[in-house]
């Protein structure tokens, strides 16, 4: 009883013990915060890493191809049986992406994926990471009228139409200027006949532009139509001209081959205001740049590309002698997994189109080769066992495929993160160990200070073990109070971590977790109860260990010497 009473009284009256409690509290709180944030980061990262990689991937090495993929898929399903949830075929090839922004040419390397609209979303968590709402439920490579994320600004068909109109107007103005320059060029032969036959249906601005050279004795020239040329009307006119028997007229107007010329219909012509190229989904980071205002420190988004813009891609064809080919594509959406590695290099287009482009389709069977088969297993399936089954079914000697789980593929980064967590925990536990030495020093002081009390207790018949347990109990109490306060502080910190990050940013003027680097809108945290228990137990253990030596010293103290101590 006296042990409990004295431990409690020492805890209440020795304020130096507060220093030990605070050091334990801070150590425990730091460990909980760091572990929670790390666990949040890791979980988020694993989800994203896993997201696009399915569970198991059977891939041809390098730029190689898997022939007869349907037969392989059947074999995979036969080998794994009920464990398979879905499979998909993909083509993956490095490519160059080329586009213009503000007159500047951007070229960068990308990893181009050909994906199947039907099955790819079932195998990996691809759809939730698309920015367009409509595509999150049903994947398509068509540009959408609406459903895009508001932060992208104006995009989709309305943006494309507007852009096409502006480009057309720019082109019209450019041509106008060129013609003006040509007409006023003193070295160019002047032809009055040409000018008079010109059809002047130009807009008022064009008319004004035309009027000036005329006034100065210059020439008149045809203005461009304000709209896309009505090709249909031209065709009808041409057809009519072709049908009627050649009318008497100037020889030069006669076109004997008019009926042989192809009939061009308006809808057959590519009209950027109405048509799109092959749809391509780009990683958001390819387009997105974060700008940081140096004065306010605020970040703003700039998009080099938006859904509705056109890009060019250059990629190698398939087969044994790859040749470069180029293709126009229209950006239809962005992929934003928040994994910078993926978002800055991945681009997706329809599987069939990519197979056609690369010449991977067998002309006889119509079946296209693929780069890899991705397999999604049922949640309860054992990943490693499934991989082994596939390796048995496709022995490496016969079929040179790389069969890897998503963890195998991301092994380097997962191992690095695990190592990082381990080292961080060791370092942080060392901090608590430092706190432990603080407790040791404090306890030694308290034991010295309480030497006379120890003598008194011994003179009253208290055994050495009892005296020792006063100080051990004191250590446990310090550890427990410190750990308890540390848990509360740590959990409160984790709970309000984003608000705290805002406050730190406000004070220091620097972003704590720069979204330009991490692509996190919020700091992810996961509190693992087991970790909390371990941290608390560890810190109490350290506090007890630190109090053992002083307690032993107290227990061994000679009662007479203790009583005489001044």
């Amino acid at each position: 009883m006296y042990k409990l009473l004295l431990s409690w009284r020492y805890l209440r009256t020795r304020f130096i013990a507060l220093a030990s409690i605070v050091s334990v509290t801070l150590g425990v709180a730091t460990l909980i915060v760091v572990n929670s944030v790390m666990a949040g980061f890791i979980s988020e990262m694993k989800n994203r890493l896993h997201g696009i990689l399915s569970d198991i991937e059977m891939a041809a090495p390098g730029l190689g191809e898997i022939e007869w993929p349907d037969a392989h898929v059947e074999q995979v399903e036969a080998a794994l049986g009920d464990e398979v949830l879905a499979t998909t075929k993909i083509v993956r090839v490095p490519a160059l992406l080329n586009f213009q922004f503000n007159g500047r040419q951007f070229t960068q390397q990308i990893m181009l994926w050909g994906i199947d609209e039907e099955t790819f979303g079932k195998v990996s968590d691809f759809l939730p990471y698309l920015t367009n709402r409509n595509k999150q439920t049903a994947l398509s490579f068509q540009l959408e009228e609406a459903g895009y994320d508001a932060k992208l600004g104006e995009c989709g068909w309305s943006y494309r139409r507007e852009k096409a109109e502006i480009l057309r107007q720019i082109e019209a103005l450019t041509r106008q200027r060129e013609l003006t320059r040509a007409a006023t060029d003193p070295f160019r032969p002047n032809s009055a006949a040409e000018t008079t036959s010109g059809q002047n249906t130009a807009s008022p601005s064009a008319a004004t532009a035309q009027a000036e050279p005329q006034a100065t004795g210059g020439v008149a020239f045809p203005a461009l139509p304000t709209e896309i040329p009505d090709v249909e009307a031209v065709n009808t006119e041409r057809a009519a001209t072709a049908d009627v028997s050649p009318a008497p007229g100037p020889i030069s107007a006669f076109d004997p081959h008019a009926h042989l010329r192809p009939q061009v219909r308006a809808e057959d012509l590519f009209n950027p205001a109405r048509d799109q190229y092959t749809g391509i989904i780009l990683g958001l980071a390819i387009s997105n740049r974060k700008l940081v205002d140096e004065d306010s420190g605020a970040t703003s988004d700039v998009f080099l590309l938006r859904p509705g813009d056109d890009v060019q891609i250059a990629l190698p064809t398939g087969g044994s002698r790859p040749m470069p080919i180029a293709e126009n594509c229209t950006v239809v959406d962005f992929y934003s997994s928040n994994m910078h590695e993926y978002d800055s290099s991945f681009a997706f287009m329809p599987l069939k189109k990519l197979q056609q482009l690369r010449g991977m389709i067998d002309p006889l069977t119509g079946e296209g080769n693929v780069s890899a088969i991705q397999i999604r297993l049922k949640p309860e399936a054992d990943l490693v066992a499934a991989k082994q089954k596939l390796e048995q079914r496709f022995p490496s000697a016969l079929s040179p495929f790389m069969i890897q789980t998503w963890q195998d593929i991301q092994r380097p980064i997962l191992s690095a993160v695990d190592l990082e967590v381990t080292i961080l925990n060791i370092l942080l536990f060392l901090i608590i160990a430092v706190a432990g030495f603080g407790i040791l020093a404090t306890f030694y002081m308290i034991v010295v200070e309480k030497t006379k009390d120890i003598g008194i207790l011994k003179s009253l018949g208290a055994p050495s073990a009892g005296v020792m347990s006063i100080f051990l109990g004191y250590g446990i109490s310090l550890g427990a109070v410190g750990a308890g306060a540390g848990i509360l502080l740590g959990l409160a910190f984790v709970w309000k971590i984003n608000e705290i990050a805002d406050v730190i940013q406000w004070i220091t003027g620097r972003e704590v977790f720069d979204p330009a680097v991490y692509f996190f809108s919020e700091i992810p945290t996961i509190v693992d109860p087991l970790t909390v228990v371990w941290v608390a137990a560890g810190s109490i253990g350290i506090a007890v260990l630190a109090s053992v030596l002083p307690a032993l010293r107290a227990a061994r103290m000679h009662p007479v010497e203790a009583l005489r101590y001044e």
Partner: protein
């Protein structure tokens, strides 16, 4: 009591019948409570052996007030500590209740100090973190485990209050030692020493740090205890006046009985 404690000292049950080894004058034939035989004790100070007791023989009769007197450094306190098992002699024997106690295991010596002996010191030695009442109750807390103590708490508190009332401190139960005067602290220490109903009270200059009035009051309390409750009191003092009121006097000069 264990078998080791039951070892008997032949011919040492009665001071009148036994051979007198000490030179303590005994006026009445009383049973012997404690006996020291050839006690030697020295301290080591910076590798120099300093002898304090050089073969002390003494007998303390049951229910008597024995004063150990001598000048400073004569070994009075050391002798008292040895009698109270706070320390062990280098040579010689100490007997209590017909058992040798100087070579007992630590646990049994703790037991003796807790149940049989009550110790009072010159500088009171109260625990500063505890109240007056708690200080008195400490020996009971040491004696019993948590549950056993809590079960008897009421009767213990009643007894402690009664003892404190007896020494005139019933109004000071909740005070801390630093709120008491020297005399009050010493009276608290007496109450604490009496709490476990000891058979021997060992007091090391209990009046040495008090003014005459308080000193007299403490002395009277001790004398009353001895006379009324037949408590054996051994008191170290250098005050000859106090020694005069004792039943027996052990005079120490330079580590020997004079």
């Amino acid at each position: 009591m264990s078998e080791t404690m039951r070892r008997k000292s032949p011919g040492f049950q009665d001071s009148a019948a036994g051979e007198r080894t000490g030179r303590v004058p005994l006026r009445v034939a009383r049973p012997i409570a404690m006996r020291g035989v050839g006690i030697e004790k020295s301290y080591r100070k910076r590798n120099v052996e300093v002898p304090v007791l050089k073969g002390v023989d003494l007998e303390i009769a049951l229910g008597e007030f024995t004063a150990i007197v001598g000048q400073s450094g004569s070994g009075k306190s050391t002798l008292l500590h040895l009698l109270g098992t706070l320390d062990a002699p280098d040579a010689g024997e100490i007997w209590y209740d017909q058992q040798r106690i100087d070579d007992l295991p630590a646990r049994q010596r703790d037991h003796l100090r807790n149940r049989e002996f009550g110790l009072i010191f010159q500088f009171y030695h109260l625990l500063p973190e505890l109240t007056v009442l708690e200080n008195v109750l400490v020996s009971q807390m040491v004696q019993h485990g948590v549950w056993a103590y809590l079960r008897r708490r009421k009767e213990n508190v009643a007894r402690a209050s009664e003892l404190l009332e007896r020494v005139g401190l019933s109004h000071r139960l909740k005070h801390r030692p630093n709120q008491l005067s020297g005399g009050e602290m010493q009276r608290t220490a007496i109450a604490r020493a009496l709490m476990s109903r000891p058979r021997v009270l060992l007091a090391d200059e209990p009046t040495g740090n008090l003014d005459r009035e308080n000193g007299t009051r403490v002395l009277e309390t001790l004398l009353d205890l001895c006379r009324e409750e037949q408590l054996t009191v051994v008191m170290v003092t250098h005050d000859e006046q106090i020694a005069k009121s004792a039943d027996a006097v052990v005079r120490l000069v330079d580590g020997r009985i004079a």
